[in-house]
């Protein structure tokens, strides 16, 4: 291989790869990884949806006693 020529080709190509093209590729890559995970059974469909925003919920302190003491809340875990 002519590495000198390959380096010129690399530099010329790199100039073409701007932010928009990288972002388009990221979207493509994300989709590909997801599809591959689904095919190989590493993910279930329920995990493929977009995550929900974190809700700001205030829990009454009287409900926290057991959990704060390190007890496992088996009802929740189930």
């Amino acid at each position: 291989m002519d590495y000198k020529k390959a380096f010129e080709d690399f530099n010329n190509r790199l100039k073409e790869l701007d932010a928009a093209s990288v972002e388009a590729w990221e979207r493509y890559d994300e989709e590909r990884l997801l599809q591959d995970s689904l095919r190989s059974g590493h993910l279930t469909q329920s995990l493929t949806v977009k995550p929900l925003p974190i809700l700001n919920i205030t829990v009454d302190s009287s409900l926290m006693t057991g959990l704060a003491g390190g007890e496992t809340n088996y009802a929740m875990a189930a």
Binding site: M1, N11, V22, W25, R32
Partner: protein
Amino acid sequence: MIQRENYKGKVCIVGYHTQEFREVGELSDPIICKGDDAWLGVGYYFWVEEEFSIYWGEDKKRGGKSGCYDVYKALLEEDRIINAVFSEEGYYYFRDSIEKAIRHLKSLGKDFSLEKVHRWLADEMWTQINIQGIMYDDIPKNPKYKNRVYSEIEPLYYKKRIQIVMFDLKNIHTFALHLEEQ
């Protein structure tokens, strides 16, 4: 020595491709690797030594239904493979390319992991400038719980574990089953 053969006038490297054993039929083409193991980008991965293709089968491909693996053999066109293992020019070309790519991506505000940089290069660079594959290596260490020795004189691990990734099936020839149901 790396095994080489001619295919229709083209110099090719002999490569070994390990897959889970199939009860019915055999593969007519290698399987493209897209997951976490695709450390040089999405492509078709081969070992250049049969020994490591067998270790890969023992370590990674015995978890399926059959508990066995197959090793396929193929000829890989060498002309447009970056040889980052045995060629001084090839090694520095590859190294400089990675560094340049990372700098370029950072200048665009993209802080990619190394795996992601390789996937991006495979898709957006190598295949676009007619680079057909990459030969690269790592240094395996003696495993604690397996009867396998990579080095007789630890900690000098002198044995390279060499892989080739090919980006396009058209540069892979005579793909055929080599070791069955191991």
